[in-house]
Symmetry: D2
């Protein structure tokens, strides 16, 4: 009810404030007997970590995941898997000025409206840092559906737009833009943004291949509905579409139906076995001006959001896969 | 788990196939002692009914709601409210050709993938007809939050776009376009579509006024996330944004943050007390060609979707209002 | 949250007040393609109906179930199954005296404490009549697990106690006591109770055979915990035990462990594949004195509760069966 | 769905295997701004800890709770509270013999039936050690309902039975038996049990004072039903009753209704504002013989279960208190 959990059969519950003792996640509903590879998990976390790219914040976060439960001798037990990451980088004193200073577009003011109390040292639960718990959840979700392939990438940043649709094997380069020329342009642009205390938003595209048909429920838990919730639950996400939804809405029915690609891999909200394509819009962060120049803020969060988008999609798909599996013996 | 319910404290569960005996809804979590006005409910249903507008399907649906439980002497009891609507208009024989004929873009094929069995006489649970149960749910949700105002309208149809943003008192005209000139143009256009067996999609905008601040939860159940799920659970909905999300994503942070209207009434996913603005993209229906000319299909579903969009928004807001109310005595 | 639903994957939601328009149930999470036999369902309802036995209330209830959704051409669709039963027997005026008259041991007073408003014509949702919706739910649950056998019976009434444990094929006689001698004694005793305006309670025992092992979850959703909740949710139920729990608690560990029958078919709260045995205590109804003599009240509800106990057990088992099935492909 | 969570608005999710890295709990749905006193929490844990009483296991468990999230400057934030306790006492090698050795009455065999894999070093999730997470949850639940008083005690051990009902201020003595004479007899008896490798079960009684009326929902989530589930989810619990349910079932209705004490504080499953009385039966542990003599097993778990019973009751009451609070502004 407090909205810290996502999923039904496969469920992740995240906890932790950005400047508290630790962040973490409980992954519940895992099958037993699956192999867990901590090194692969660490690599996923590194994809989300700050300081990986030349245009990113210089904060160094030692995000060391520790598994507290649910794994024994390298295999899942079927019991809840708890993973925590200590917050080692709280510079005390840094954030005191924020106590009575609500940043526009952040949750500072609304958190006070809601609770009448908050941890003013940072974004608390609303911080982008919470998303590392989702990446951990996504890693475990992926173990359930290893045959399904997820590939997210940046399609647009500010006025820059990718020219060709990549496939799942295309190298995503330094900042998750699978296009060398656009990468160079955006890197230069973002360095300029950084110097000017400016920030940029954009669009991330996600392709899912090898999904089985029949996933998703016919009414409220349509696959597209659960994807939409998953994505809009991400900080700074302000738009979601199946394929290029807002453009496709302009097409006449004859054109819309002429190409099954326009359905984005779902009909009636249920997967049809074809490629699933989703697009998500993210706004430029509100941290601008002198504060943004100071060093600990990204001019553009999209490169770091790409693995988080994949993680959320994996969680949605693993959940619906298990939900459908419960009926396998009846429906086949 | 089967996705026929929506909401946590305030929960609607819908049931019924488009061509079965009846459709209906259980509205659970209602406060006791609220006045129920069946005439107002019928009026809401009429807004969604076919045959209301000159461009609409000529099917006549006698959607007579019957309250089976939860209301006594005109007041809610606090127990589950059940309302059913009989399906009186099943022309037997009409749909037999559809048995092995999957309509592209509909749930026909994916329903078979999922269940291996279906009611081939119509869209079953995926039918737009299911949304009348949501309108009933929305009526009761509205009783919980009477001070909050909801106003949805069509902003775009095909290449037509509204010129001015209306306010909540603007007359929405014949087809829920609060702009006389655009209404005339779209009516003419849709008549042409109908004659040609063509269909059109578009964009619906929703404005919510007088929302209290502090609604929504900080992580997965952000208000924007629950709105997104609510809207993408609607048939034909293929896009969702907070304000003009996909366009705002192009703005630099300095411009984005300069006007609080850009936040769409939510910061950190929690309502900030300002106007909430959402936009939803709907595709043109896949029923085209000779079948669409035949008489029982709308060339554009958007006019009838407007009250459904309002109903879903009311359900989301009533649910979050009750969720927050549980903590009122602690947080104030 | 309002507690009108039971189960996770297989979920029943009941609705309706005892003296309202109708009672009913939504059965959600059914597999598709299962055969539905309305005659069998009616027979189950008849087992619970009043007026079946010589010692029972003379009220005649025409409990005619009507299926509104989820079944097509005699088979389940996988969509929510809605079944309603009209209340045809409300004698208006009968209950007016109850408006400001709270019956001790009934929900009258506490319903007012909770809601500040109630349908004073009867027990509302707390009425025993609500349990017919559970019997309908139990019928559909049974379709999922046809190989599992459920057999409930009366073991004790007042000071009468059955002498031998019956097996699943033992005839349960007129009032669900599978012992001819005890049946005769209890029938005589209850007629005397009726004449004196007295009522009697007792104990119902339930045996489940052919359960697979591995059902139930290790912590909060232990099979025994969900059985306990299911049974204590029944009106008048005031006790639950695994096997003869309260007596077994007196045994030393050496004796307790010497016979696996003492575990009641569950170890660590998970089914072990052996016979499951549960016992439930029901209090004598509080309707006594002149009111009870008047004709419309049973001196003992236990004979009619027996099929309800079986129904609740079926719902618990079907739910846990589906929950475990979701992992079948991983755990085998 | 995996049953590691309990509660709706106030929800605890526990994690951790008995011999894994750590155990812990997420407490979700806490109001913000409540004072947290770690010393009081530690005292609660100590009540459950082994080695507190002369008759208990000599294992020393350093159960040091660490709060990872949800508390800031000594106050709750309204965000999920995570508390972990490291397992510091795993004697490696001790349990290897158990790998293919299923203890009767334990979850060893059924865990294998369920998952096909287990942590053979101990009881895993089924271990009594998991209950320390519940005690932590109970501490936080208590903060929500400080005016309600909970008092559990041992009423019976083997053939010993307490002679007088204590009140909430009665000292519970060394082993939670608020009767000096019985305490002495049971201590002597349990020492004998220990020497003989024998174990004993018994009955715990719980009294709740100062509950508001109106808590509990009328159908499946009756207060008694949620208590029953809470208690039967405890290891070794094999019976539950409202007041002395199994004995009260023998009473005629006239006697049953003559004394409102017999209703155990609930009518129609909803609290009536009077004293709530529950009784729970616990079996003797199955660890007997040479193994039990060896030193690390309690001859009777009941003294340590008393605080766990109180914790579970607090969780149930806090949850229902918040559920009812959501409607306070409507129902008053």
């Amino acid at each position: 009810m407090s909205g810290n959990s996502f999923g039904q059969l496969f469920k992740v519950t995240t906890f932790g404030e950005s400047h508290g003792e630790a962040l973490g996640v409980i992954v519940d509903g895992m099958p037993a007997g699956l192999d867990v590879d901590l090194e692969v998990l660490k690599k996923e976390l590194l994809r989300r970590a700050p300081g990986q790219h030349s245009v990113h914040t210089s904060r160094k976060e030692d995000d060391v995941p520790e598994i507290l439960s649910g794994v024994f001798e390298g295999k899942t037990l079927g019991t809840p898997i708890t993973v925590i990451v200590r917050n080692t980088n709280q510079r005390s004193g840094d954030y005191d000025a924020l106590k009575d200073n609500y940043r526009p577009g952040h949750a500072d003011k609304t958190t006070m409206m809601k609770y009448g109390f908050r941890d003013h040292r940072g974004g608390g639960r609303a911080s982008g840092r919470e998303t590392l718990a989702r990446v951990i959840g996504g890693y475990f979700a992926g173990l359930i559906i290893p045959e399904i392939s997820f590939y997210a990438y940046i399609e647009e940043v500010a006025h820059f737009k990718i020219s060709n649709k990549p496939d799942h094997s295309t190298d995503r380069g330094e900042i998750n833009i699978p296009d060398k020329k656009m990468t160079d342009e955006v890197v230069a642009f973002l360095k300029e943004c950084k110097a000017n205390g400016e920030s940029a938003g954009g669009i991330i595209s996600l392709s899912i291949l090898n999904s089985p048909g029949g996933l998703g429920e016919p009414v409220f838990d349509k696959l597209k509905a659960d994807f939409a919730k998953a994505m809009l639950s991400l900080p700074a996400c302000i738009g979601f579409s199946v394929a290029s939804g807002f453009e496709l809405a302009k097409l006449p029915g004859s054109k819309m139906s002429a190409d099954s690609k326009n359905f984005g891999g779902m009909e009636g909200g249920i997967s049809n076995g074809e490629e699933i394509v989703l697009k998500m819009a993210f706004k430029a962060t509100s941290t601008i001006g002198e504060k943004a120049k100071a060093g600990r803020h990204d001019p553009c969060i999209l490169p770091r959001v790409v693995p988080v988008v994949e993680a959320m999609a994996k969680i949605v798909m693993a959940d619906h896969f298990l939900r459908q599996s419960a009926y396998d013996s009846f429906h086949s």
